[in-house]
Amino acid sequence: MLSVQGLACARGGLPLLEGVSFALQAGQALVLRGPNGCGKTTLLRTVAGLQPALAGEVSASTDSIAYAAHADGIKGTLSVRENLEFWAAIYGTRGIGAALEQMNLRALADRAAQNLSAGQKRRLGLARLIVTGRPLWVLDEPTVSLDAASVALFGAVVRAHLAQGGMALMATHIDLGLPEAAILDLTPYKARLPEPGAGGFDEAFL
């Protein structure tokens, strides 16, 4: 499970969000909403451990998190199988068969990833998430630039993941097609900047 307490994070040296708290139990999904630039990506990267938090705590071992941005880290010159086997080896999981099956990629396993259609690529990206074997998925804009069918596929995969006791933390500004997910609007957590020249230590810059 994941619990976030009083998290504050910054982008480019400026505090962006503060006092963000939420918890996620097994089988739950949480969607972060908010206008562009409100700090969704920053929050996700902080939770994933890519950047340090200004304050607060993220109580999930980083060992439980699989992070994915909209770039999937797929290598075009490697085949579907090679791509997945690589990530399986990195995460120390065995067997990519289940992921191939679930994403209906078995027939494409030996095709180079650069020859896949956009939807197939997306399926490969999702298969990568399954291959990691991690319970907590942290997804940044997972459905951006996808057609309706792919969005539905994405919803089905996340649902299956949740049904197996997984968790998902997602950021988006469009509809994900996951009505059962809880929604957290980040707008109220916008960090209040100190008054200019208030005499704080390094806040003198702000």
Binding site: G12, G13, L14, L16, G37, L193, P196, G197, G199, F201, D202, A204, F205, L206
Partner: protein, 243 residues
Amino acid sequence: MASFWEYANPLKFMRVTDWLLPIVAVAAVVVTATGLIWGFFFTPDDFRQGATVKIVFLHVPAAMMAINVWVMMLVASLIWLIRRHHVSALAAKAAAPIGLTMTLIGLITGAVWGQPMWGTWWAWDPRLTSFLILFLFYLGYIALWAAIDDPDTGADLTAVLCLVGSVFAVLSRYAALFWNQGLHQGASLSVQPGTRMDWAYKAPLYTCMLGFGLVFLALLLAGTRTEIRARRMKALVARERMA
């Protein structure tokens, strides 16, 4: 209670340097002018090097500062990496162009001096080579600062570069020594090998060294003030955009 680290507060730094900078600047001009005028007009010619000996009053202080500035940048970078005081990182940033200029002065005065003495503008002598390499390190450091938008990322990356660069600069120095035993006289304070430098030269030389140190300090304070303002300006603009 009044800890040294308080000066790492940008506001306090600005307040203190507000009155300190003019004093340092005036002192820098006075001391440097005294030393150089003394050296240029009122020192005898050396019996072997003739009037060229007067170049020592520029060459040695500049060369000394070229190294000292890098050491100062190294210390400032370490302070930034360990204690994360922004003023420290900005001071390192402000120091680099001064160090670059000092290195350049050292190289140019050396060439102008070397021409009549050794009959060549340039020699691949370990000392000269080391300074040329130091010049490249300064260039790289400044270029890296200039290439990065985010101020904290820039501070972090340049600080690591400064650390790693220092190790390699020292290695290069030994490599250059190993590679070619040179023409350059050994100790910087003896004009001729074996004989001690006369006080007639030493006194103005020390004055010039102090003067160059003060010039560096004045420019450093001025530059750091500018960098603090620029940093604040950037933060304000970013803040405006976010609001």
